[in-house]
């Protein structure tokens, strides 16, 4: 210890071992990974003309990675779907979906091979925002992304994702290539009126990058997680990976009801044709509707407020002038369902629970019995007789 050279030698040797393992060893083990086919033959060879994955990102997306890096998005967003393994009854370890997959953040865990073509790998270590490793697989379109990048709060009211208005040119009137930002009430006057933004090239790069983030192929080392197995056993998957001694104190049956109502509701919302509600055609996957024609459901007091009013709309439709989120609309919504007004109590309860708890809405669930009560109270109404907003407001209870 007294000779500084021997001392340095000692403390550097301990460091060198770690270096040998994490740098040299790891590099030898998987430094030469390259794109591979989705499936290999038994003898580990691949078919001659098989498509190789991962694919390289388009140039614009690569530039987007630099912008994403420079803005420090990685301090809140990870890009890694974790691998969870458990032991089966024979003690063999098996791969399971785990909560990352169940949250819809990917179809399988991320593998080292997924990243070999990226110039900047930004795995991240904190999830204040959702994981983005597979963001490109969500159905969110470019306009949604630009709106979100410009001001996340216009889509997700209580979001803390930082707005990046400096990437856009803002104006009060629509212009060529401009995107409408939905108005919302909180945070000052400016945001109460509709705004239109034109994305800069940097914004376009970031959007291209986010769209390019997807691990939507299988790899020889890891196929997709089978969704069916998970479903049969919702209760167990709900808390998988969480030690028994620490659980979120929500009765699991309540959670199960809510999540099954949510997924059934999403089905009704998006299914077009007999048996579905087809709400998506007018109110859009984003719940934002379309300017002038269809009012938004996201953030709407009609959705989040009084249930009776909402159930009535879903039973018979709505027409005439209506103000939603401070904007006036005047259109007609026929009673949902094909044939008209054919949704069952259960379906209406599901879809309303879904719209009340999506796109940042958060309100109590609607139960089938509540729907049948309302249905009974207005059973004399003709199925084609749509409500008007005025009619509903006059005899509705104050919003809950």
């Amino acid at each position: 210890m007294n000779n500084i050279f021997k001392f340095s030698f000692g403390i550097l040797t301990t460091l060198a071992f770690a270096w040998l393992a994490f740098v040299v060893g790891a590099n030898l083990q998987y430094g030469d990974l390259s794109p591979e086919a989705e499936n290999l033959e038994d003898d580990d060879s691949r078919e001659p003309d098989a498509e190789l994955f991962p694919k390289d990102m388009p140039g614009l997306a690569k530039q987007g990675a630099e912008e994403y890096l420079a803005l420090g998005c990685v301090s809140c967003h990870t890009q890694q779907v974790r691998l969870f393994t458990t032991k089966d009854s024979e003690g063999k370890s098996i791969v399971e979906g785990g909560m990352d997959v169940e949250r819809g953040w990917g179809k399988r865990a991320s593998m080292a091979r997924d990243y070999v073509l990226q110039d900047h790998v930004m795995l991240g270590n904190t999830r204040i925002g959702p994981d983005l490793a597979n963001f490109g697989m969500t159905e969110k379109d470019n306009d949604w992304l630009h709106r979100h990048l410009f001001e996340p709060q216009s889509l997700v009211p209580d979001s803390i994702c930082p707005p990046s208005p400096f990437l856009y040119e803002v104006s009060d009137d629509p212009r060529d290539g401009s995107i409408a930002i939905p108005s919302h009430e909180d945070h000052g006057d400016e945001r109460q009126k509709s705004r239109y933004v034109v994305p800069s090239i940097r914004a376009n790069r970031i959007v291209a990058y986010l769209k390019a983030l997807k691990q939507d192929y299988e790899l020889p080392e890891l196929p997709f997680v089978q969704a069916k197995e998970e479903k049969s056993d919702t209760n167990a998957t709900e808390t998988k990976g969480i030690p028994d001694w620490i659980r979120y104190p929500v009765p699991s049956s309540a959670l199960e009801d809510l999540s099954s109502q949510m997924s059934a509701g999403k089905e009704v919302y998006t299914k077009i044709g007999p048996g579905g509600g087809g709400c998506v055609t007018c109110h859009q996957p984003t719940g934002l509707g379309l300017p002038i024609a269809f009012p938004p459901l996201a953030g709407s007091d009609w959705v989040k407020g009084d249930k009776e009013r909402l159930i009535k709309i879903s039973l018979f439709g709505l027409t005439g002038e209506i103000e939603v989120n401070g904007v006036k609309f005047n259109g007609a919504m026929p009673a949902p369902g094909i044939p008209l007004g054919s949704l069952t109590d259960q379906q209406i309860a599901d879809v309303l629970t879904f719209v009340r708890n999506s796109w940042g809405n958060s309100a109590s669930a609607v139960s089938p019995s509540e729907v049948s009560e309302v249905r009974a109270s207005i059973k004399d109404r003709a199925p084609t007789q749509m409500w008007t907003a005025a009619e509903l407001t006059s005899h509705s209870k104050p919003a809950q």
Partner: protein, 469 residues
């Protein structure tokens, strides 16, 4: 009257150490300000949202860098030089070079942080400052470290003791870590997730092998010096030292649990993290067995109170850290704000608190001026209170965040993050308290280093007044 040997040494160290302490103080304030801005942005995303250079991601990273390299780096230089000089009983030499390198170091960090805010961030943990500033940082560090080693080499007594081991190790480990990371990330960059493993390893090792040994070394020096008694069970210290040297470089990678890297990497990390309870136990026995023999004195001596707060926080939080590296728990909390808990407890609750103690002990010796007890005490209580609140908020908030995030049916923004929101609010207030506390520290320190900063201006202005009158 002839000066004692100590006084001669202190005088030789005066300019250099004062420079480093004074600049460390400024960085501390800069980091406090940035920490507040970042915390405020988490509670209100529209706070300063139109300034591109103050967007959350940049501020957050700039804050960590200002804290570790600005405050940490400068205060490490100050404490290293003074403690080594005192222990070797030789004067600090090469003062001009030291000052020059110090200025270079601070300039490089300033440019680095501006670079981050201007959008030239690197993707590597704790190496986020733009590539160009690193050679400068490295050279200025090398000069300072070399001159510190010269002091050590010319020591009067050949035998070395625990504070010297820890401080020298910290001095040597940093450049070694840096070279390894630099080689693997910039000179021979690998593909895929390999750089991520390396940068995570570097970022975490920096705290374990640079800040931690420095603070431990300082504690090994300050506690016996002030108490005037030997370290209890001193023979354990060498075991503790080599345990840290052997285990810490391995233990940090448990953060990759479940990630897209070979499974042995996080597995080794977990095993080694658990083994870390040995060195933690050793340090804790050494410090606390000694300190608790004379607890009155610890309580009444403010520098020592700071140091003991730091060592207790080291022990407790390191054990908590071990718990959070167990795979079952790690799966829960791995990506939650518990990471902020680990970072802040290490660089604030432990490292900074000990350094505060060192500075308060060192400055009166060097400058011959006392710092008022009330001001130190105010600094202690606000810091202790602020840190405690901050860490509790991150700990409980982190658990909430982690547990809720594992419930796939809960909506991310409206259920998970909004449940963590109250804790973000608390941390914001904690950072305000800490900011005040640090301001008091900096004023305390600057007052003794520059007793009359306005003397010359006052003199000249009164002169002018005299003329006009």
């Amino acid at each position: 009257m002839k000066d004692t040997a100590e006084q001669v040494i202190d005088r030789s160290a005066k300019t250099v150490v004062s420079f480093f302490v004074a600049s460390a103080g400024l960085w501390l304030l800069a980091a406090a300000l940035l920490a507040y801005v970042a915390a405020a942005k988490l509670t209100d995303p529209f706070f300063l949202s139109s300034c591109e250079f103050l967007t959350y991601g940049k501020v957050k990273v700039a804050q960590a860098n200002a804290f570790v390299y600005g405050w940490g780096g400068n205060s490490i230089f100050a404490a290293t030089l003074w403690i080594l000089a005192r222990l070797s009983q030789v004067e600090v030499r090469g003062r001009v070079m030291l000052l020059f390198s110090g200025v270079l170091w601070n300039l490089a960090i300033s440019f680095g942080l501006l670079g981050i805010l201007d959008g030239h961030m690197n993707a590597h943990e704790m190496l986020e400052m733009p590539t160009v500033v690193w050679p400068v940082l490295f050279i200025s560090y090398a000069i300072i470290a070399f001159l510190a080693l010269v002091i050590h080499r010319s020591r009067k007594h050949n035998d070395t003791i625990a504070p010297q081991w820890f401080i020298l190790a910290s001095l040597i480990w940093f450049p070694a870590l840096f070279l390894i990371a630099w080689n693997g990330l910039e000179i021979n960059p690998a593909r895929g997730t390999l750089p991520s493993v390396l940068s995570l390893w570097f970022g975490q090792s920096l705290i374990w092998l640079w800040l931690t040994p420095m603070a431990l070394g300082a504690a090994y020096y300050i506690i016996p010096t002030i108490l005037g008694r030997a370290i209890d069970k001193y023979y354990l210290a060498i075991f503790g030292f080599w345990c840290i040297a052997a285990l810490a470089p391995w233990s940090v990678v448990h953060h990759l649990e479940g990630g897209p890297v070979p499974m042995w990497i996080p597995a080794i990390g977990t095993v080694m993290s658990i083994a870390m309870i040995f060195p933690i136990a050793v340090a804790s026995t050494n410090f606390h067995a000694t300190a608790f023999k004379d607890i009155d004195k610890v309580w009444n001596n403010l520098p020592l109170r700071f140091v003991i707060f730091g060592t207790i926080s080291y022990t407790l939080s390191s054990y908590i850290g071990v718990i959070f590296s167990l795979p079952d728990v790690a799966k829960l909390t791995q990506f939650s704000i518990i990471n902020e808990f680990h970072f802040n407890q290490r660089v604030y609750g432990f490292f900074s608190m000990i350094i505060f103690g060192v500075v308060y002990h060192m400055l009166p010796h060097i400058t011959g001026k006392e710092i008022s007890k009330g001001a130190k005490s105010f600094h202690f209580w606000t810091s202790a209170f602020g840190v405690l609140i901050l860490l509790l908020a991150y700990l409980i908030g982190g658990l909430t965040h982690g547990v809720l995030a594992q419930q796939p049916s809960l909506d991310w923004s409206s259920s998970v993050i909004s449940s963590v929101q109250p804790y973000f609010k608390i941390t914001k207030y904690a950072f305000i308290i800490l900011g005040f506390s640090q301001l008091v520290f900096v004023i305390n320190v600057w007052k003794v280093i520059f007793p009359n900063p306005f003397a010359c201006c006052l003199a000249s202005s009164s002169e002018r007044k005299g003329k006009t009158a």
